[in-house]
Symmetry: C2
Subunit: 354 residues, 2 copies
DNA sequence: TTGTACGCGTTATCAA
DNA sequence: TTGATAACGCGTACAA
């Protein structure tokens, strides 16, 4: 009302005939307010559609937050670097804006380490947790402890349905699979005769398997729904990721000896390994190659068209949003969307970013 | 750590042995500071890597800004609604954050109206201008006036090379064309014999023609570079957009009588008109249909797979970034990136957002 | 249970 | 050319 600007706590206090202290108490539920006064103030807040001034709030509030980040360990250039970049970016941005936020990083490469690190976050004075649930069983155990200790947490990249998380931020792996299937179908439909497709699950043993499986399920269901089973023959290949190109080469070599597929779908983020094998063996005609994630090595293979298409689900943005959501929830008690699904991008040589 | 976190103007003042008023003057170039003092303060700012506290700044600043938005007039559901949504979103967001910003909207449907509205923005007290340059000649005239009157402006959606704008926010139409070409090539390459492709320029006469042309150029150059000219035959079709489906139907009907193309590329945002024609005439086999922009009617045709792929360049985000960039430039004198290119998205039924 | 007063970092005004 | 000081809206400790 003043100068047509926003309404302040002071305006509410005036209208309610009390002091700003009292208004503040009802806004923050700090109790100790006479019930009738409380009701009146709440009504006025609704009536005037009061919205707190974020800037003043941050400026006045001296609270320091520490967030716990619990993610799989990774080497430079691997998938998890991307969400981490988003996390760092958000931290930096919010700190520059006068917030006082610190991140404490925890990584794991085994279910035991995962659980250990998780429990440490509870004993340490951590205000909010951002984690990627590794294996189902361990994650449920951990999440239960978070809940009991009243630690708010956000799930990132893959979900555990039904957990009392503030939010899940990630992707729909079934949709990913469907999209890849659509691409492969459209790109091979004019090939005469039966089309052979390899689905390669190249991943670290017993890690992240759920998402890869879900992708494969989405992939298969596309062909099932469209009654295309007779036109295609599929071969699912589980390949352990030992991290060395040589092992991949060996396996691909053996497979190629049995015949040359029309298309290859790699469900994990390590298509570049398969691409490198193809560059070595040069099968002719070159199979269509599709995979996931905008990591550096994959992009290089897209540039030279060994990889034809890359799917990605805004990995970096996931990290950014996780931090942002946690801060909003912690500092303003803002209610966060229960599910924040990323968009699904299709990249090829011509529309690669950068 | 608690108080030692960020450095404030006060810290600089102490170190420089002057008052915060003086520091403020050098930061904001309000002149009237003794040169040696000025140098000393600047050095200390660099040394301590001072970053202003955004919250305090917004809180204390009483300045009110009005932005002028100069865009083509549009009906609901048309392309320009998307950038406008982004603009509104940004306005809302920044106003909620305590900024005091007002938008004044101007639209045009002819070069004369465009110029008129532009000149009015100069006489009115407008602090910054966001505009889409309609025709080249008129735009250059207008931009010259902006420059002479010291009005900062941002170009949105399509560029005029070399203008002294704060920033250009938009897309690379040549890249769009290349991407569509890649898709059509890959999706038709296994068809035997010569493949026929229509390129339809369906647009309001003499409006936005430059971007559509650039897309077509990108499109053609893909096939030229790849030495594919002999495998494909192209037909460029200029179709006036009268806004009625009937006229489109007539023209498509005539064209189909001469033969059934393998693929159709519609360079504007009105693929849905072509899609509706195809639904009516049911050419068999159905040509591959690719177009631009996530407007409602297009998305409907993607859902029923009349349109196979849709390209879009983050239309909504363009509007958002334009407002954000202008505010940053105006309030903090921040230097804005000269070119902010949007990502190029590929959408099909399976990865359509929402 | 309620009210008051100070501080957060910056802008802007006025007096020196 | 400079310095002191009152806002800005909110959080909070302390007084009543």
């Amino acid at each position: 009302m003043k100068n047509g600007r926003h309404i302040r706590i002071k305006d509410i206090a005036e209208k309610a005939g009390c002091s700003i202290g009292t208004v503040d108490r009802v806004i923050h539920n700090r109790g100790k307010v006479a019930e009738p006064v409380r009701q009146r103030i709440l009504r006025i807040i609704k009536e005037l559609d009061y919205k707190p001034n974020v800037n003043a709030r941050v400026l006045a509030s001296k609270q320091a937050l520490t967030l716990g980040i619990l993610l799989p360990s990774y080497k430079k250039g691997e998938y998890w670097e991307l969400p981490c970049l988003g996390i760092s970016e958000a931290m930096e941005r919010y700190n520059e804006q006068g917030y006082n936020i610190e991140a404490r990083w925890f990584t794991y490469n085994s279910p035991e380490k995962f659980h250990q690190a998780g429990m440490k976050m509870i004993t340490d004075e951590i205000d909010g947790i951002i984690l990627n649930p590794a294996t189902y069983k361990e994650s449920v155990r951990l999440v239960r402890s978070f809940f009991q200790n009243n630690k708010p947490f956000i799930l990132i990249d893959s979900d555990i349905h039904g957990t009392p998380s503030l939010s899940f931020i990630g992707k729909d792996p079934v949709q990913s699979g469907l999209t890849v299937a659509k691409l492969i179908h459209q790109l091979t439909r004019h090939i005469t005769g039966n089309k052979s497709v390899w689905i390669i699950n190249l991943s670290i043993p017993s890690n992240q398997n759920y998402a890869l499986l879900a992708r494969e399920i989405g992939f298969m269901s596309y062909f099932a729904d469209k009654q295309l089973r007779d036109d295609y023959s599929f071969q699912s290949i589980d390949m352990d990721d030992t991290g060395t190109q040589k092992v991949v080469d060996e396996q691909i070599g053996k497979l190629l000896a049995t015949g040359n597929p029309h298309a290859i779908y790699v469900t994990g983020s390590r298509v570049h390994n398969i691409a490198d094998s193809l560059k070595k063996f040069k099968p002719d005609p070159k199979p269509l190659l599709i995979g996931h994630d905008l990591i550096h090595k994959n992009m290089e293979r897209v540039k030279d068209e060994t990889i034809d298409f890359l799917i990605e689900e805004e990995a970096r943005r996931q990290g950014y949003l996780a931090v942002e959501s946690m801060i909003r929830s912690l500092t303003y008690k803002e209610v966060i969307q229960k599910k924040q699904m990323m968009n699904l991008m299709i990249y090829t040589r011509e529309n690669l970013p950068l």
